[in-house]
């Protein structure tokens, strides 16, 4: 993995890495991915992937109304609260509004 790969994956993962950490990260990820490559030695052409250890399929329950969290409790851990809503950074630029 080179620095460009690390930056690309970090962007996909929504992870801001410090520039000083990029070299170390690239080296460590390369070591680990090289170790992972041993899996390629195995022939798995006729093997079904196993995503889950239990042979369970869909689990159904009756669609009954259950009590949910009161608004104040649901918002108690919010980094920012505005009224009865989660406060988030502005996504749309207000100056754009005129053009829509």
């Amino acid at each position: 993995m080179d620095m460009k790969d690390v930056r690309d994956v970090a962007r996909l993962a929504r992870l801001e890495l410090r520039d000083a950490d990029l070299t170390t990260m690239a080296r460590q990820l390369t070591d680990i991915l090289t170790y992972f490559d041993q899996l390629q030695q195995l022939n798995t052409d006729d093997v079904e992937p196993l995503a889950h250890p239990l042979p369970v399929q869909n689990v159904f329950r009756s669609d009954e109304l259950q009590p949910s969290l009161p608004v104040d409790e649901a918002l108690a851990n919010a980094p920012e609260r505005i009224g009865d809503f989660f406060g988030v950074p502005a996504v749309l630029d207000p100056s754009d509004e005129m053009s829509h």
Binding site: V9, I32, L33, L39, T44, A76
Partner: protein, 490 residues
Amino acid sequence: MTLIERTAAELLALQQEGDATAEVIADAFLTAIRQRDPRVRAFLHVDEDGALQQARAVDAKRKSGRPLGRLAGVPVAIKDVLCIRGTLTTCGSRMLQNFRPPYDATVITRLKEADAVLVGKTNMDEFAMGSSTENSAYQITRNPWDLQRIPGGSSGGSAAVVAAGEAPLAIGSDTGGSIRQPASLCGVVGVKPTYGRVSRFGLVAFASSLDQVGPFAHDVADAALLLEVIAGHDPRDSTSVDQPVPTYSKSLDEPVKPLTIGVPKEFFGEGLDSEVESAIRTAVKEYEKLGATIKEVSLPHSPYAIATYYVVATAEASSNLARYDGMHYGYRTTRKGDLIETYSRTRGEGFGREVQRRIMLGTYALSSGYKDAYYVKALKVRRLIKDDFDRAFAQCDVVVGPTAPTAAFKIGEKSADPLAMYLSDIYTISCNLAGLPGMSIPCGFTRGGLPIGLQLLAPPFAEEKMLRAARMFEKLTDWHMKRPKMEESP
């Protein structure tokens, strides 16, 4: 024998006979925490007032003749990965530094119903990612047997608490060995139940197809009792299995007869410390003395288990940890920016290095162009690993071997080399990939006085047989009675 050296079973008996109250017991352990934990650093938060209140409530209940729960008045420490309503639940991460969950995990509900006394939250590797507890954002926990060494991880705090006599019981979680490996390194019993045996509701997710909650205790009987209390179907976790929970604690003393022990030759290869190997060989001989048949079995794909595990676990983690975006709860960056910058800065500032590394690995393994080569490939090898166990268990009742390749290593010894750290999980991770129950019990010490653990693995939902087989060994030996010498702060 002082109160803090007692097992949970003994503490229950003392209360029943009127020789100790829950309050006196809680006070004894809280005092031990005050004296010992400044050195061990196993707890992230201790709830002194809450613990004393719960203990007094148990005493009042007993006095009034009302029925008591199965863990009445027994202190239990909780790994900081399980939600307790209104109580800080940090997961060892800055990301959740101020997080107080609005609900209890099902395991916590069951402990409260059993009248257990919850004493506090224990230290762990951030988001349960690590094998030494050094990845905690808050503190380094030390092994009570040697304070210069790590207690194992990721449930290192819970294992150290029990070893140090700061609580007789503790709860941990095990995704790749995070209960069994620290149990082995701290000289206590640790059980990872079958996937689906214990509810994961309220357990902060790391890798959802691998995570299980389980007990730490001084001996097998206590571990069986604690497992019995927390196990069982939960409609709020659709992967929890709707099968009755056997009364493990009742059948425990019945030896398994006939008993066939499988010893996988792959568990005795390169990297296994010679002192650990000799302790495990001796343990196998003990079983032979008890009349067990010893059979060499083969798990031919186990050399691929670490690579398989770290692909699957990091892929699941990268998806699970996407929820930490600074919007609904947890840390949010204070730097102003657009939405993507806010996400990225929040996650760059809130997660530690190991968590970031694993998110990167998982994201890479799932990314377009690499998914088949890494993720799908690993899932295929995962099936081969599970098939190996199916074949082994056709020939034996339990598989036995070392829990960890070495005894506790020194603080800082492996922290610069993530791959070396991953390799310390070599014997524990295939069990999670296959969804099996597994446990570690004390089986000896190195010449330097560090505990060694024996691992037992069993077929899915065969916890009862596994615990009985473990108890057979425990009855014959006194390793589980050993306690570290603890210096006490004034």
